[in-house]
């Protein structure tokens, strides 16, 4: 058949060719595609934020209530009743300084774990880099984190705590928490596509993880070398780092940071690897 196209002038730009065929290996992060779809990342995160504030009564309040109430409960049971040591700080601010990064981490982990299943419609209908989904699910938590952080600052003023120059490390610590959450979140979300019971294990695992992290108690309860071994849980460095920087306590040792950093990176890289390996069948089985 002669199409009308043939008669057109020959100055039409030939678009680049994409070859779609069975993929082997993992093909890396796919940064180029992620960059191309960065606005989708923004819009999906923006949607989650908008929807949350439209649907809920308390809206922004939830960002404060969750860590704040946990702090109150911890203060009563661990601080008052069990008399858990708090490095010489008032227990409420000792706990809250840890709960702010912890809540950020646990909500990021929870929302990313269920994110693919929650976007079944999109996955089976439209193409975009699949990594966008768990990544976007984490972003609204950054706002909550910001709000909770403001409350933390308020408490510091109330208790008259002066931060040290170490506050410059806070963004690094937050990024460390983000990497851990994303690493585990990628594993969980991809596994959850195939095995639906993964999602139910996440809240339970987060709870165990909370007690394996010095949120309600100080890591100074442990002596070296066990404290360094403890840093195999990267959240130990994050939480103690927050306390150190903001509440004028000793920072975790460089070795601890190194151990935590390596573990976090390992979690992230294997998470991306597993995700990219399995994403090809997401649309088929989700």
């Amino acid at each position: 058949m002669v199409s009308k196209f043939v008669s057109e002038p020959a100055n039409v730009i030939v678009p680049p060719e994409r070859i779609l065929k069975p993929r082997r290996g993992w093909g890396g992060l796919g940064l180029e595609q992620l960059w191309k779809y960065r606005e989708l990342l923004y819009f999906l995160a923006w949607r989650d934020v908008k929807v949350r504030y439209k649907q809920t009564v308390l809206g922004i309040g939830w960002a404060i209530i969750q860590p704040f109430m946990t702090m109150v409960v911890f203060s009563v049971f661990f601080g008052r009743l069990a008399k858990v040591p708090s490095d010489g700080l008032p227990y409420p601010i000792f706990a809250f300084a840890a709960l702010v990064p912890w809540t950020f981490f646990s909500s990021a982990l929870n929302s990313s774990a269920g994110s693919l299943q929650g976007s079944t419609n999109l996955l089976t209908k439209v193409y975009f880099p699949r990594l966008i989904i768990p990544m976007a699910s984490i972003l609204p938590g950054v706002i909550d984190f910001g709000i909770a952080f403001v409350i933390l600052c308020g408490m510091m003023v109330y208790y008259g705590v002066v931060p040290t120059w170490n506050v410059v490390f806070l963004p690094l610590l937050a990024i460390l928490a983000l990497f851990v959450a994303l690493g585990v979140g990628l594993w969980a979300s991809a596994l959850n596509v195939k095995y639906r019971d993964i999602r139910y294990t996440i809240p339970f695992a987060t709870q165990l993880w909370l007690f394996a992290t010095p949120v309600a108690y100080p890591s100074s309860l442990l002596d070296e070398p066990w404290r360094t071994v403890y840093a195999l849980n990267p959240m130990v460095s994050v939480v103690e780092g927050f306390r150190g920087a903001l509440l004028n306590r000793a920072m975790p040792s460089l070795t601890m940071f190194a151990v935590s950093g390596v573990i976090a990176l390992l979690m992230f890289i294997t998470g991306v690897y597993y995700f990219r390996r399995t994403e090809r069948y997401f649309a088929d089985i989700i």
Binding site: L20, K21, F43, V126, Y127, Y195, A283
Partner: protein, 427 residues
């Protein structure tokens, strides 16, 4: 400048039936399966070979080339592999075998409204949906007014879409998708919903798209929409490519195979519709020139021709036809009134009934052939669905459409004679 927009080579997609049935497993089940399969390994091989046969090929060895600017329809029954094909081209899923070469951005118009969030306003959803379809924010902002105007949603654009009717929802979603500026547009059954007026505008918009030299792949069961919109069609059945050719040709072949009707049918004496008086031998649909064809131009005369043998002399035998539309509507009945009172001699006869041009509308028509006597009334036999043919309107001059490309409802489409006079001229 000879490049193909989409080139599929030996495309295949395999699904595991087990996975399709259960869709997902629990982690526990996998552990149990791993255990039981390691136990099974101790048993003879044959059992594990049996497991492999649970796979099924949604698409198998499909190859075709689509040139830029072509509008290609993909037809086939449910489960024929049409949607799988679109999913592979749009990169939602990977082929198991073969490869597709795609040149240009691909926009997908699948099941409209996917990605809309009910709590957000129309305005917000336009941006969200646009981003999901791969549009840039600046691009959406630039076309925003155009999109809203096309959807006719100016008044409700700040209302949460959960308060929209399904028609409004659809209109807005299509409007966004229709303003995608991708080189290739994939469209899946979107026109199945929505009111007639909107469907017609969607079709019009798609025609615009293909007129701009962009490539459109259109999946549908709706043969009429495909023949109207596409020059070329690809027919899939059970995952295999059955036919690739002009939309009209493929369309009529598809309908023949799918409906079980054919333009010509010949009966052997053993299984012919008959009684002791008369036996049907053949039935066919012919053009004015006498050519048997499953596709008929709406503008021209259509003949339904039957051959039959009178086995017993002295009876009145009146051939009669019943015409049915694609949805089973009984369009009309016709009979050969010359033989009402006339006894017939034994012998072989041929009768042809001619339907004038510009009476039937587009689409499938099936014909039932009967024989009867009038007084006393008696049906000798009636062959339901004896033949079938497909009415086509190519928008050529002379049809009742008069070049109008939109939907023309109704079971028939006669061309009227019009008489319009200017009665009084206002200065």
């Amino acid at each position: 400048m000879s490049f193909t927009a989409i080139s599929a080579k030996g495309l295949g997609k395999r699904y595991a039936i087990g996975a399709a049935k259960h869709r997902y497993l629990t982690f526990r089940e996998t552990l149990v399966n791993a255990f039981s399969s390691s136990m099974r390994r101790l048993k003879p091989r044959s059992q594990s070979a049996g497991l492999r046969s649970a796979d099924f090929w949604a698409l198998q060895d499909v190859s075709f080339d689509i040139q830029p600017g072509e509008t290609v329809g993909v037809i086939g029954r449910n489960g024929a592999g049409k949607s799988t094909l679109l999913k592979i081209i749009s990169q939602i899923t990977e082929p198991t075998q073969g490869e597709v070469h795609v040149r240009g951005r691909v926009g997908t118009l699948l099941e409209i409204g996917t990605g809309f969030h009910p709590e957000l306003t129309g305005n917000e959803n336009v941006y969200l949906y646009g981003a999901i379809l791969g549009m840039r924010r600046a691009e959406i902002a630039r076309k925003f007014d155009e999109i809203v105007a096309f959807a006719e949603m100016e008044k409700f654009i700040e209302t949460p879409v959960k308060r929209y009717s399904s028609g409004m929802y659809m209109r807005l979603a299509f409007a966004v998708a229709a303003h995608l500026e991708t080189e290739i547009l994939l469209v899946d059954e979107v026109l199945a919903v929505g009111d007639a007026r909107f469907q017609q505008r969607c079709l019009g918009k798609m025609e615009d798209v293909s007129n701009q030299g962009r490539t459109v792949v259109f999946v549908s069961h709706n043969m009429a929409a495909i023949t109207r919109l596409c020059r070329r069609a690809i027919w899939l059945n059970d995952g295999k490519l059955v036919m690739d050719g002009s939309a009209i040709e493929v369309g009529s072949q598809y309908l023949n195979a799918d409906v079980g009707g054919i333009a010509e049918r010949v009966w052997l004496p053993g299984n012919a519709p008959s009684n002791t008086i008369v036996r049907l031998c053949a039935a066919r649909v012919i053009t004015e020139a006498g050519k048997v064809s499953p596709e008929m131009d709406v503008r021209f005369k259509i003949g339904v021709e039957i051959e039959y043998e009178i086995l017993e002399a002295g009876h009145s035998v009146v051939p009669n036809y019943h015409f049915y539309g694609a949805d089973g509507t009984h369009l009309f009945m016709a009979l050969d009134d010359k033989w009402m009172q006339k006894p017939r001699a034994v012998g072989r006869y041929r009768s042809t009934g001619w339907i004038p041009g510009n009476i039937l509308t587009e689409g499938l028509v099936t014909v039932g052939v009967g024989m009867m006597q009038a007084e006393p009334f008696m049906v000798q036999f009636h062959a339901v669905d004896a033949v079938a043919f497909y009415m086509v309107d190519n928008l050529k001059p002379g049809s009742a459409r008069g070049g109008y490309a939109g939907k023309m409802p109704g079971v028939i489409r006669p061309k009227l004679t019009w008489d319009t006079r200017l009665l009084e001229k206002d200065e």
